[in-house]
Symmetry: C2
Subunit: 436 residues, 2 copies
C-alpha cells in the first residue's frame, strides 16, 4: 500500500479538523484512494497548543521551514493563513518538490500567480478547494464539472459572518453593532471583524472564482468592494416591507470582452433562491451556456467543513498526481476489492409520520371504527381533517399520524379496506419533517 506523507503548517481550528478527519476516516480514505495518508510533521508557532489531539509519532515543533524541506514529506498542507510567511513557505515547499494544499484565500487571491508559476516549474500541484466556500465544492465544480461551458456569471454569498449578521439583524430587529457583538461572542466573527464585514474576505474568494471561470490571473485589486457596516436595521425592515432581503453578494459577470467584479450589499427579491440562504451558510450560483443555472450550497467555514475540503484535495492528489491508477477514479469510489454488499433495511420497519387519505361514508361511528383500527395497531393520530359532508357519497377524510412503524400502518390499511364505510383504496404518503 502506497503511503502519502503529509507535513502541516499551522495547528489552528482547521488544522485540528484535518487531523481529526485523517484519523477518524482513515479507513474510508484508504479504501477510496488505495493510499495510506500519514501526518508526519507539523510546524506551528505554538506547538504546546494541541487541542487534546493524539499526535503520537508526529514531529511537532516551531520549525515551519523544516516542514517544507523534509524529505519524508510528500505533500505540505498550509493552514497558517495570511500572506507572510505563508507565501514564502508555499514557494519553498513547491521548490522542494512537494505538492501543496491550502485553505488560504488571501494567499491565492493576492499571490496566486507567482505560486502557480512555481508549481508549474516544479510540475507540482497547488490545490485550494477549501479557500472558497468551505465544504461547498465550487472550485471543482467550475474547473471540472462545468469545464465544457462558457461561464456567463457567478453570484454568491461567500462570507458566513456577514450573512449571519444580516440574517440576525432581520430576525431580531437588532442593530449592526449589537449583532456583531453577539456574533463575536458565538465565535462567528473575529475580534477584528474588518476582513469579514468590510467585504475583503468575500472579494478574495470572488477573485479566485473569476480567475478560474475565465482563465485570467486573480485580480483582487480591481474588485469594487463595499461591506455591510452602513446597513441599519431600518434598511433591513424597509427592504423586507418591499419584498426584498439584503445580502452581501459577490458578483462576477462576463460581457463585452471584460468582467464586472463587485462585492456589495444587494437587495434581492424574496422569490430568488439567493434570498433564502440564511445564517452562516454559503451559496454560489453559476450561469453557464450549456449547463444553465446550477447552485451549490453548504457550510462555508468552520473546522469540519473546511477540513472536508482540504482532505478532499489530498485525496485528489493521491488518486491523480501521485496515484498509480493511471488517473482513473474507481466508478464506485472505492477500489474494487473493497466493494461490499450492504443490507437494505425493510421499508416495513421504518418509523415515520403518515398522511392517510380515506374516502368514507359520512355515518355516525365511522371515525370511531377507523380510530379503533389505528389504535389497535399502535398508531396514534395527530390531526383529522374531514372534507365536506354528504349523506349519499363517500367524503374524503385525511388523518395525520404521529410516528409509527410502516408495518403497523400497512396492517391498518388492510383492515381499513375491509370496512364497509371505507369506499376506495386508502392512500398513505410519508411525511418527513427533518429534511434540509
Amino acid at each position: 500500500m502506497t503511503e502519502l506523507r503529509i507535513g502541516m503548517l499551522g495547528l489552528g481550528t482547521v488544522a485540528r479538523g484535518v487531523v481529526s478527519l485523517l484519523q477518524r476516516n482513515a479507513e474510508e480514505i484508504r479504501q477510496r484512494t488505495g493510499v495510506v495518508m500519514r501526518l508526519v510533521r507539523i510546524g506551528t508557532r505554538e506547538p504546546h497548543i494541541t487541542w487534546g489531539l493524539n499526535l503520537d509519532g508526529i514531529t511537532l515543533d516551531t520549525d515551519v521551514d523544516a516542514v517544507t524541506q523534509d524529505p519524508n514529506v510528500d505533500i505540505v498542507v498550509e493552514l497558517i493563513g495570511g500572506l507572510d510567511p505563508a507565501e514564502r513557505l508555499v514557494h519553498a515547499a513547491l521548490n522542494h518538490g512537494k505538492h501543496v494544499v491550502t485553505a488560504n484565500k488571501a494567499l491565492i487571491a493576492q499571490k496566486g500567480m507567482g505560486l502557480f508559476q512555481t508549481a508549474q516549474e516544479n510540475q507540482r500541484s497547488l490545490l485550494f478547494e477549501a479557500a472558497v466556500a468551505g465544504a461547498v465544492p465550487i472550485i471543482k465544480a467550475i474547473r471540472e464539472s462545468l469545464a465544457a461551458n462558457r461561464i456567463e456569471s457567478i453570484h454568491g454569498i461567500l462570507n458566513g459572518t456577514c450573512n449571519y449578521i444580516l440574517t440576525e439583524m432581520r430576525q431580531r430587529g437588532l442593530s449592526f453593532t449589537e449583532t456583531l457583538a453577539q456574533a463575536q461572542e458565538k465565535g462567528y466573527a473575529e475580534a477584528d471583524p474588518s476582513f469579514d464585514v468590510d467585504g475583503i474576505d468575500t472579494a478574495h474568494k470572488l477573485a479566485i472564482l473569476a480567475a478560474i471561470a475565465w482563465g485570467t490571473p486573480p485580480n483582487f485589486s480591481a474588485i469594487h468592494i463595499e461591506g455591510i457596516r452602513q446597513i441599519t436595521d431600518a434598511d433591513i425592515a424597509w427592504a423586507t416591507e418591499m419584498g426584498y432581503r439584503i445580502k452581501l453578494l459577490a458578483i462576477a459577470k462576463y460581457r463585452d470582452g471584460g468582467v464586472e467584479l463587485r462585492v456589495q450589499p444587494t437587495l434581492v427579491t424574496l422569490s430568488s433562491m439567493v434570498s433564502q440562504v440564511e445564517g452562516v451558510f454559503n451559496a454560489v450560483f453559476v450561469k453557464a451556456d450549456f449547463a444553465g443555472n446550477t447552485m451549490y450550497h453548504g457550510r462555508g467555514a468552520g473546522e469540519q467543513p473546511t477540513a472536508s475540503a482540504v482532505v478532499g484535495d489530498l485525496m485528489d492528489l493521491a488518486r491523480h498526481a501521485m496515484g498509480s491508477g493511471g488517473g482513473r477514479i474507481h466508478p464506485l469510489s472505492v477500489l474494487p476489492h473493497y466493494l461490499r454488499a450492504l443490507p437494505v433495511h425493510d421499508v416495513a420497519d421504518l418509523v415515520g409520520e403518515y398522511y392517510l387519505r380515506l374516502a368514507v361514508l359520512d355515518r355516525p361511528g365511522v371515525l370511531a371504527e377507523i380510530a379503533a383500527i389505528l389504535a389497535k395497531n399502535g398508531i396514534s393520530i395527530d390531526a383529522i381533517h374531514q372534507k365536506g359532508r354528504s349523506l349519499q357519497e363517500a367524503v374524503p377524510l385525511v388523518i395525520v399520524t404521529h410516528e409509527c412503524r410502516e408495518r403497523d400502518m400497512r396492517n391498518s390499511l388492510l383492515e381499513l379496506e375491509r370496512l364497509e364505510t371505507v369506499r376506495e383504496k386508502p392512500l398513505i404518503i410519508r411525511m418527513e419533517s427533518g429534511l434540509v
Copy 2:
C-alpha cells in the same frame, strides 16, 4: 497538440447537444485540456435524422458495432439509452480499449457491476456524470469533493418530469391526468410516461448515488419504489393547507450497518429547502460527517445540461486518464500559456436599480429639491417611502429608482450631500431583481 477522437452511439437529443457543445466551445475545451476533441464517427439507427447539424468529416452510419471497434476512436460516448444493445456495445468498446462516457442511468443502475469489471480488466474508465441529475455534478461531488467523508444520507428530487407535474398540479389546481397531458405536449414527459411517473427513473439514479456513497454494488431491485399517479389535486391542496409540499423524493440513509433506499411521494415542510425546488429542476442534498449538509441544484435533463455533463466527463478523461500533465489540472483551469488579462468594467458604468436612503429635514419643498437633482442626472423614481414625521429632527426618506447608471447616481449623491436639508451621508444599495 494531442487529439482525442470520439465515437458516438446514438444521435438523439443529448447527442445533438454534445455535437453542438463540442463545436461551439472547441476553443475553451482546447485551452482547458490541451487536447483537441474530434468527433470522428457516429453510429445510429436513423443516420438520416441529423437535426441540421454540421457533420462534415464525420463517418455517420448505422453500424454501431463499428464505432466500438474503430481503431481511430479513443473514447466512445454511449447515448442510445436502455439496456439492449447499450450494454453489449459498452462492453465491446471497453474490450477494444476505449474509454466510455455514458448518460445511461438504467444501464449503470442495472448492469453497472459487469461494466465496471470490464473497465477494470481493460484499465479503462467508464464515466457517467450525466446519468444522474443532468448538469448537477452530484457524482463528482460525492466521489471526489466529499471523498473524505462518511456519507450519512442523501435525499433529492431526481426526476424533472415528476417535479414539474407536482408543481403544476399545485399551482394550477389541475388533476394528475390533465397535468401529465400538458407535460407531454410540452415535451417534459414521454408518450409512455411510466419510467418517470412510476418512480423507476428516480430509482435508477438513487441506486447509482447510493452505490457511490457507500462503495456497494448498485442495488436497484432492492429499492422501495412508489410513483405519483395516485396523488390527487386534493392531496396537494390539503398538504399546502397544512404547510407542506408533496415531492417525489429519492432517499438513501445509512444506519445500523445497512441502508434505507426508497423512492416515494413525501410531504415535506414548507420551511425545508427541498420544498422550494420547483418545476423541472433537480436537487440533491447530502449529509456527511465532516462537510455537514451540502446541496446541489440545477437542470436535471435536457439537451444542453446533459451535454454539459457528458463533455465534462470527456474533459476529465483528457486531463487525467489520457493527459500528459501527470494528472494535474491547471489551477486556473486553462493551460498557463492561455491565461489572459481580462479588462474589468468600471462599476460607475453599470446600470441598475437603487435603494437610496436619505435623512432629511421634513420641510416643504425638500422632496422637490431631491427629485430635481435626480431628474437632472437622468434618474427616474420608482417609489418613495417617507418614514415618520418630525419638525425638529431629520427623518428617513427611502427612494427606489428605476434603472440608471451608477455614475449618474454617484453624481447625484454629491449634489444631495450639499443640500442643507439632507443631514447625513446618503446610502445607496443596489437592487438585483433578475437573480436566481
